[in-house]
């Protein structure tokens, strides 16, 4: 599915996560795959502890990181799209 700014996003319960320094590693037990996260990815994963929309994530990141709103929005949509594709997060209420 296509992610829009209003798509509600939440973590999949089958994902295990550990922080290692400023990076993070996720294990998708269903797929048997490991994924790495950089510091911004880690922050997005942390934010998704509470289900929220891509727009809400963008707003938080714009506050916390030095990044232009438009650039941030495109990157967030890209990133959450990839997480959805890999079954790491789920869309919908």
């Amino acid at each position: 599915m296509t992610v829009t700014l209003d798509t509600m996003l939440r973590r999949d319960a089958g994902i295990y996560y550990a922080a290692i320094g400023s990076e993070g590693v996720m294990l998708n037990v269903n797929a048997g795959l490991y994924h790495g996260l950089n510091d911004v990815g880690v922050r997005i994963w942390e934010l998704l502890e509470t289900p929220q929309t891509a727009a809400q994530i963008r707003d938080r990141l714009v506050d916390e990181f030095e990044v232009e709103r438009q650039v941030c929005q495109a990157a967030v949509l890209d990133f959450v799209g990839e997480l959805l594709e890999r079954g790491i997060i789920l869309a919908g209420p």
Binding site: Y17, E23, V25, Y34
Partner: protein
């Protein structure tokens, strides 16, 4: 009764455990090893494999024609020998599989690897059986490293939460061909088991204090797609590799939850990087491999 210190644990044993290094009689042992009745099967196993069954905090391990082992709660190993078997034959499975399972029960990160140390810093060498872990560890000890552990490598945390490698208090096990190539013949001891041509070799120097773990090397043979050299693994690959290189990974998955495993591995990887060490198999090039490892390790 015999008293040993193995992988940081004090062990009191009715059975002599050749290869383990004895200690003075301690007050409260962490682990007891005794002879006793061990069932052929557990009454209601929740999981099982080819040679083991699990029920609650107990694992039954069966080695056909040799012995059965009941390993409980990370504290107790009970051994029942089969008719024709000797305690000496079974002792290898107490120090090997049984202790590895017990360490998993205690929640340690247990890798299948050899470890050496220098100046209080340790490295672990992992790789599949026959990859040359013990041989490389022995070669590193020949140039002044001290021996920490062979085969079962338990990683724990010190009081500053830094990962340390627990000395298994045992002697290095080497295949006969390796002993000849490394000219260690004068230090060759008894055969580990009569049927196996792997011998205990008394290391030159063993460590008493657990060294801080500074790197983990995964041995791989230089065949395409891997060229000779040492390369750092990306974090997700390092996590996957540490899970894969756990001692008896199938059994470990039964004993530790996924989140426990990931937490153990993550705690280790906060301080330690994992490298793939690709080199030709065989003894001709061992000196070059040793040089490469020493240089790489010192620059970390």
């Amino acid at each position: 009764m015999y008293n040993y210190r193995v992988s940081g644990l004090s062990v009191i044993s009715e059975m002599e455990l050749p290869g383990a290094i004895g200690i003075a009689n301690g007050d409260a042992p962490d682990v007891t090893v005794r002879f006793g009745r061990v069932p052929q099967q557990l009454s209601a196993p929740s999981a099982s494999g080819p040679a083991w069954q699990r029920e609650g905090d107990t694992i039954l391990l069966c080695v056909p024609r040799l012995a059965r082992f009941l390993i409980t709660g990370g504290k107790s190993i009970v051994v029942e020998l089969e008719d024709a078997a000797t305690a000496r034959d079974a002792s290898g499975f107490v120090l090997g599989s049984s202790l590895g399972i017990l360490l998993h029960q205690r929640g340690a990160l247990v890798l299948h690897g050899a470890a050496v140390a220098r100046d209080g810093r340790g490295i672990v060498i992992c790789g599949h059986s026959g990859a040359g872990k013990s041989t490389l560890a022995a070669a590193l000890c020949r140039i002044g490293c001290s021996f920490v552990t062979d085969d079962i490598c338990a990683v724990s945390m010190n009081t500053s939460h830094e990962p340390i490698v627990l000395p298994d208090g045992r002697q290095l096990k080497l295949w006969e061909q390796s002993i000849r190539s490394l000219e260690l013949g004068h230090r060759q001891g008894d055969a580990v088991r009569e049927t196996f041509e792997k011998y205990f070799v008394a290391p030159d120097i063993t460590v008493s204090e657990p060294p801080r773990l500074s790197a983990i090397y995964l041995l791989s043979e230089s065949q395409p797609p891997f060229a000779e050299g040492i390369e750092a693994l990306a974090l997700p690959d390092a996590v996957r590799m540490l899970e894969h290189e756990a001692y008896r990974p199938g059994l470990r998955r039964q004993l530790n939850s996924t989140s426990q495993m990931l937490a153990q591995v993550a705690a280790t990887l906060r301080y330690v990087r994992v490298f793939r060490l690709t080199r030709p198999l065989g003894f001709e090039r061992i000196a070059a491999t040793v040089d490469a490892v020493m240089q790489h390790w010192q620059e970390l």
